[in-house]
Symmetry: C2
Subunit: 340 residues, 2 copies
């Protein structure tokens, strides 16, 4: 946490970030050039990096705590997609001269709170000055049993497609915060806002999934259900059919879609859900349902895998077809997530 810091940066590190690591040996008190950690010989290291930029990846109106939650959520969700247990994060924070100390204090508190459930530790980073916008890069390290990492490749024809939790809350939460959704009940509004701002990455479920070796491919829903499932299909050389009716929606998302049916498209392609979508043979269905129930996590079978040639080029080159209740293709457009 050391190089090229101005007095203000040293001060920020010492006041707000060093307290987060005070009992962590590996961080060497943020006093060294780098952190040193041991990986159990039975495990492999899983590493991911994600950057979020104010106005591009998060609304400037988001609270400092929420920005921290989002940063952590996005990264731990990538670890979850690989079945890895989060262990350590490294933060590169770009603050502007106008960023207030209270904002930074709240950001550090959010970071601590967002990391707490998984036990992942802040082990180092860099605090630098920028004329703006605010930007944060987090690198997250996790451990997975050797050879057990979940990957995008590996889905087989005939596999079922599963999704954890509810889909679409992230995109609808963003739409709501932009003032695009009207007439929501306070409860529904709060639910969507919370899901957008404070994703709950599924590292706990994913870890057991990796240990059991039941999933053939896995991805987290960040770009959007369709785009992310398409990543699995591309990497696996297959195609997928999704039945829109089987995709689990929260009460809040259901209320939105009932009022404006065209919002179903946001649900299916909007992203920012940080749920898991994975494939597994139908023989694994019972075990998976049992696992999900034991973890009190909703789990839905939303479709199945077909041979690649059943994916139509007419759907913007996607290998994923989404069918409505009558078995007709839903027109979803390119399906790729577009930034704010």
């Amino acid at each position: 946490m050391a190089d090229h810091n101005t007095a203000r940066e040293f001060d920020i590190i010492s006041k707000y970030f060093r307290p987060l690591v005070k009992d962590v040996d590996e961080a060497l008190g943020l006093a060294d050039d780098a952190a040193v950690l041991s990986v159990p010989p039975t495990h492999q290291l899983v590493v991911t990096t994600d950057a979020i930029v104010e106005g591009v990846h998060f609304l400037p109106s988001l609270s400092a705590e929420d920005v921290a939650y989002k940063l952590v959520g996005v990264n731990l969700s990538d670890l979850a997609a690989m079945g890895a247990m989060p262990k350590a994060v490294f933060l590169a924070a770009q603050f502007t001269p106008d960023t207030s100390e209270s904002w930074i204090e709240a950001f550090a508190a959010g970071l601590k709170a967002a990391l707490a459930p998984s036990g992942a530790q802040l082990l180092g980073g860099d605090t630098v000055s920028t004329p703006g916008p605010l930007a944060f890069t987090l690198t997250a390290l996790g451990f997975v049993k050797t050879g057990q990492a979940l990957k995008r490749s590996g889905a087989h024809v005939g596999d079922l497609v599963f999704a954890t939790g509810t889909i679409g809350d992230g995109a609808l939460g963003l739409a709501m915060l932009r003032g695009e959704l009207e007439g929501l009940s306070p409860q529904h509004a709060a639910h969507l806002a919370g899901r957008y701002a404070r994703p709950e990455p599924r590292w706990d479920f994913a870890q057991v999934l990796a240990d059991l070796g039941l999933a053939t491919a896995c991805v987290d829903v960040s770009d959007g259900l369709v785009a992310d499932l398409n990543h699995i299909c591309s990497a696996s050389g297959v195609a997928a059919i999704v039945e829109a009716e089987q995709v689990l929606l929260s009460d809040a998302a259901n209320a939105v879609v009932e009022t404006s049916a065209e919002r179903l498209k946001d649900v299916l392609t909007g992203g920012d859900d940080y749920e898991l979508v994975f494939t597994a043979p139908s023989s694994a269905l019972g075990a998976l349902e049992e696992l999900a129930e034991s973890m009190q996590l909703p789990l839905s079978v939303i479709g199945h895998i077909e041979a690649a040639d059943s994916g139509g080029d007419g759907l913007a080159g996607l290998r994923v077809r989404v069918l409505d209740a009558h078995g007709a293709d839903l027109e979803l457009g390119p399906g790729g997530y577009q930034h704010l």
Copy 2:
């Protein structure tokens, strides 16, 4: 390398960054959410993150290749300070909509070239859009034999203070690029510019240093010789005396200081050298000189460690005193590196 990418970002990754990892199994072709790698059971993992922002950490006039070299150099130098062998890097790149493809192409080429000597591999990252300025965060992972990592704490009273290479070229290179230095010969100008733009981190020397277990404390010269040696002193609870005459300068830096003696202050406090400063008992002198000679790396004894109370508060609270040829204290001011 996956989350939340626009079409342009997917395109950039696929055209310029994926080719860098095409033969690296651990990166999974940048097609997954994270990289998976194995750490030898005999080694620990060393991790560092550094961010550089255009206009703050590098001049906008710097070429794309040089920015990449600087980014890699800064990070691998942090690994070197710990005695770790560089193994993998993760890049978070914030490009603006105006960043040309030729700039990105040159940046990727620079990244490849800067990583080549150490064999460290790009294993993943994130490419995002920003309204500006350009900013890059690199997280570097290295391996060090378990328990052998060099640290800042550990310097003992009586230890000698060593420095690799030449000191001050980075700061003088920056001064020159800002047009502050006049009358330099073309050779000297080229030397200083090169040292500023393309640091050569000492991971090769550092690794042997860690293996041999001869150094008691180590740091890389990024904030400036005095400030970085001060980090060792703070962490070790000691003070240091540096004899300015013993600090090795390049011919170019000597030429500058001969013309303007006050530039010696920049040499000693300017930073951006990415050399190593370390402490070791005098009994290690012979072995260290032999090692440096075998690696054709200049190595100087620039001072020694004293008890903490010999550090004067009069020198801005620093624990490092720098003496001139007559044994008088040099007045260096706060000695902390200030950004551009």
